[in-house]
Amino acid sequence: MKSHVLRPLWVFLGLVVIILVVRLFYVPGDFGIWERGYMYGWHRKGSEEFWKNYKVKYRGSEYCKDCHSENYSKLMQSPHAIIPCEDCHSPAIDHPENPPKLEINKSRDLCLRCHYPLPYPTSGRANIPPVDPDKHNPGIECVMCHNPHNPLEGLK
């Protein structure tokens, strides 16, 4: 059928075909719709691996135990045993290869995260021995006198 009226229709259909062909190659093969449909069913299978292979940085206190057994066993007998090593010593990552030395947080603010006096009822904070940083030796690092691995052992 030859008609100038229908010509735009062929152009339109051609565009649709081109877009569908481009879509076929451009959209990754793992892109699909699950049984939950267009609402919640999107999935990108290829992206799951990316998140699965993300680098683990916090290794847990068990990782420290064998080489630093002295500090570990001391800590385990103190009220601070609940605190993981990496909370103060920063994440181990691949220590001792990388980083060879961990950054230790010795600031007063670290201790005050728990020990600043906030006697809030219905919060675990009320049960922690309070230390008023403005009255208790201001300006001096806590670890100058207290042993964080065993705070009950007495002053240094």
Partner: protein, 261 residues
């Protein structure tokens, strides 16, 4: 001209036709049913937060930022801790300075532009800390609104973002009723808590669970009846945030209060 007999016949046919559901014409595919049953994942991750144990030390926030390479000094975080102070005059004060990355080391409530509010201990009626993170909703609104399908829910319930496919339009950030999504300042894509999928898939705890000295945070599998977290959720009084949104959030709270938003 239609007679009465034909009119009644056609009426009956019409009513039957309209009321028959489309599903009645669908031939049941046994393969599909079988696949449905075997396809069901045996893991569905849930989270349990015990607000009675939380002391607001913020170690979880710090650990999350370092573990997941969320820029440490940027004002964005995947998890945060909120402080709520309810005074005897009926007012509610809450803050979360830097997402509690450095904990709460002052009694002054950070009101941002309105300065600080110091509340005397004797005026406090209730006060507590509430850790927040992605609720990994069963009906995730963030997934629903994504125009390019870059965010998706895995069968284990975790919602992830594909950084290579996200166009950064921000719809998901607006859609989340819990405000857990943000733009990653480096990748310029939507970013959210992944329940540390890289860790839990290796059998490790999430960074925040591991860093918490008080056991206020726990990860569990709701499909395992012997999981301690499942037992708590099934037998104890737990709450979820903004249940009225119908998102079916999967982070459960012990000791939740109505003031928590």
């Amino acid at each position: 001209m239609i007679n009465r007999r034909d009119f009644l016949k056609n009426t009956v046919k019409g009513i039957v036709g309209v009321t028959l559901p489309l599903a009645a014409f669908e031939i049941i595919d046994p393969k599909k049913l079988f696949a449905d049953k075997s396809d069901k994942a045996d893991v569905r991750y849930v989270f349990l937060v015990d607000t009675l144990k939380c002391v607001g030390c913020g170690m979880c926030v710090r650990a999350c930022k370092l573990e997941n390479d969320v820029p440490y000094d940027a004002k964005v975080t995947r998890t945060w801790v909120e402080r709520y102070v309810l005074t005897k005059d009926g007012k509610v004060w809450s803050d979360s300075p830097k997402g509690a990355r450095d904990g709460f080391t002052t009694s002054k409530i950070d009101l941002n532009a309105d300065g600080f509010k110091d509340i005397k201990n004797e005026d406090i009626e209730k006060a507590f800390f509430v850790p927040k993170l992605c609720n990994q909703c069963e009906n995730p609104p963030c997934v629903q609104v994504c125009p390019v399908g870059a965010t998706y829910q895995m069968p284990n319930g975790i919602v992830l973002v594909d950084r290579t496919w996200c166009i950064g339009c921000g719809y998901c950030i607006m859609a989340c009723p819990y405000g857990v999504r943000f733009f990653h300042p480096v990748y310029h894509t939507a970013e959210k808590c992944t329940f540390c999928y890289h860790r839990i898939s290796k059998g490790l705890k999430t960074a925040c669970v591991q860093a918490c000295p008080f056991g206020a945070r726990q990860l569990g599998n709701i499909k395992d009846p012997n999981d301690p977290v499942t037992k708590v959720i099934m037998t104890e009084r737990v709450g979820v945030l903004k249940a009225e949104y119908g998102t079916k959030p999967q982070v459960y709270y012990i000791g939740l209060s109505k003031e928590v938003e």
